[in-house]
């Protein structure tokens, strides 16, 4: 009797762990993003150093409570439209990431060209452990047109 019951009890205790582990496995492999060319990454980095580094820091880790980090966040990996608008319009703080808030204002940077914005966003989306699709100058152009 004891021999039969024990595995059942064990399963009941461990089932949540086992099932939880299984749900973490990807159901279907995501399509592989094409590698970003070095030229684009270099150009994007140059824009980053000039305009972003002071607040978001060299490693994209930001500043706790003040300036949002750029590592695998819903902002960086999410909607390109939101990201482009963030650069064109800036923000007045209170960005929220996983329950943390960041309070410093971000200046709008409309003086950057469509190409510069595309490059820097592509750089950010593919640096600091991020992996996301490229942003093209054409996409920036159409988003900018809708803002005006």
């Amino acid at each position: 009797m004891k021999k039969n019951v024990l595995p059942v009890i064990m399963f009941l205790f461990l089932a949540p762990v086992i099932l939880h582990a299984q749900t973490k496995k990807p159901i279907s492999p995501k399509p592989k993003a094409a590698p970003v060319s070095k030229a684009v990454m270099d150009r994007g980095k140059e824009v980053y150093l000039m305009n972003c580094l002071a607040c978001h820091q060299a490693d994209g880790s930001g500043v706790p409570n003040l300036n949002p980090h750029l590592v695998k966040t819903k902002w960086v990996l999410g909607s390109k439209t939101v990201l482009v608008e963030q650069i064109l319009k800036g923000s007045q703080g209170k960005v929220e990431i996983d329950g943390e808030t960041f309070n410093n204002a971000m200046p709008p940077l409309p003086q950057l060209t469509d190409q510069q914005i595309a490059d820097v966003l592509t750089y950010v989306r593919n640096s600091f452990s991020n992996k996301a699709s490229v942003v093209s100058a054409g996409e920036v152009k159409s988003i900018r047109a809708k803002i005006k």
Binding site: Q57, A58, S61, P64, G90, G93, K94
Partner: protein
């Protein structure tokens, strides 16, 4: 089957341990080595408590109870009282109260005072020297500016029944558009009416706001560390200087200059003092207040900055002084008596140059004036030599308090650690 049972129990115990760690409602004993913190010979730092989260300022009562103000609610509360009941130097008892986040906390004349980011409360201490009604504080100040940036309200009392509250300016340099290249400074800066200074209120007042308070000093961008100096009977404050000189004015400042300038300033404030922000900043290399570029300055011109209050001590730029304490104890050597300890939170705006700060500094004082150069007292809170981003820092010092035995307590808000620093010759 036996092996299987052992494996099963092993897995269960791991799960249980994780549950305990995730559910740490009481003080967690930390295993971090205490000698991480570098101190002068004879001094020793021990960790009293850890993992409190955003532990901002703290105050130690005459009975040894430690009150810590939290900038993130913990168990739904924003103040924790820590107590060491068995005398082993570690807090083993904690009590949480106050349903608001904030920074300021102090004790004076039988009351515990604590601030949210827009209000100040006080709690009467009973005959046992404990907070009598933790859930029913008196609201003494309300309605202060809180626009997130620079919103912490540090507090200190004088010996005449007044409380002083810093109200930080919610901006970098009062530009029309904050932190934006090419945006001019507002003239006059409208922020100064309700922020960018120190306000004085009655310590026993009720629901006081700007109408009942006095703007005691102005032209202070953001003060977090402040203390009342009993020797001089005056208020001393630490200002966080403005950011981004090279970012906003690359034609005038290079990154090296921007990393060092402007100074973080210690002021002794007389009523009516104007310390110059946003129109002026202090250049510690030229030893003078100069006109800010947003107001026509070029890094050298003085202009309207002639005559604004000068600092009594100037520190390198961006180190973020968050705690100030005049040491009145007798535990430490004579040199430290009446001198100032300053907790530096550590910089972010020195990038692309390496970040600095993450230490507790000391300035010797004699007859109410600085009597020597400032020095690093407690170092290596960052836990590493070269630090490029503040997120890499292990600890970020924030608050200071003196214990009844003359020990120095330090709080930090990266993880929420409290140290007690003692001395034995």
């Amino acid at each position: 089957m036996k092996k299987l049972l052992i494996l099963f129990l092993g897995i269960l115990s791991i799960i249980n341990v994780q549950t305990v760690l995730a559910n740490d409602s009481t003080v967690v004993k930390t295993t971090l080595p205490v000698d991480d913190i570098k101190l002068p010979p004879g001094f020793k730092a021990t960790i009293v408590a850890g993992k409190l989260g955003r532990a901002r300022h703290l105050v130690v009562n005459t009975n040894g109870d430690i009150y810590v103000k939290l900038e993130r609610l913990r168990n739904g509360k924003g103040i924790v009282r820590l107590r060491d009941t068995n005398g082993d130097g570690k807090a083993d008892d904690s009590m949480y109260f106050g349903n608001y986040v904030g920074t300021g906390i102090t004790i004076k004349n039988g009351y515990l005072y604590a601030s949210s980011n827009s209000e100040v409360f006080r709690y009467k201490l009973n005959e046992k020297n404990e907070v009598a009604n933790p859930d029913a504080p008196e609201k003494i100040i309300t309605g202060l500016v809180d626009q997130r940036t620079h919103n912490s309200k540090s507090i200190v009392l004088d010996n005449d029944g007044n409380i002083y509250v810093n109200i930080g300016a919610p901006t970098n340099a009062c530009q029309v558009q904050d932190r934006t290249k090419g945006s001019p400074g507002q003239e006059p800066c409208p922020i100064l009416e309700k922020a960018g200074g120190i306000w004085q209120f009655k310590a026993d007042g009720k629901n006081q706001s700007y109408g009942e308070g006095v703007r005691f000093a102005t032209g202070l961008r953001n003060v977090v560390g402040l203390d009342w100096n009993g020797q001089t009977n005056s208020l001393f404050v630490m200002q966080h200087g403005r950011d981004q000189l090279s970012n906003l004015y690359p034609e005038m400042f290079n990154d090296q200059q921007s990393a060092e300038l402007p100074a973080e300033e210690m002021f002794e404030l007389k009523k009516g003092a104007d310390c110059g922000w946003p129109y002026c900043y202090y250049d510690q290399q030229q030893n003078k207040k100069v006109l800010a570029p947003e107001y026509g300055g070029d890094g050298k011109q003085v202009g309207r900055c002639e005559g604004v209050t000068k600092p009594v001590v100037a520190f390198p730029g961006h180190l973020a002084p968050n705690g100030l304490l005049f040491y009145t104890g007798s535990l430490f050597p004579e040199k430290y008596k009446n001198g100032a300890f300053i907790a530096f939170h550590g910089s972010w705006n020195r990038a692309p140059l390496p970040q600095k700060g993450f230490f507790v500094a000391f300035v010797p004082f004699k007859d109410g004036k600085p009597s020597g150069e400032w020095e690093i007292f407690a170092d290596n809170f960052a836990g590493m030599e070269n630090i490029s981003s503040p997120g890499q820092a292990e600890y970020r010092p924030c608050g200071l308090s003196q214990g009844p035995d003359g020990a120095l307590y330090v709080s930090e808000d990266a993880k929420g650690t409290i140290w007690k620093i003692t001395y034995k010759p």
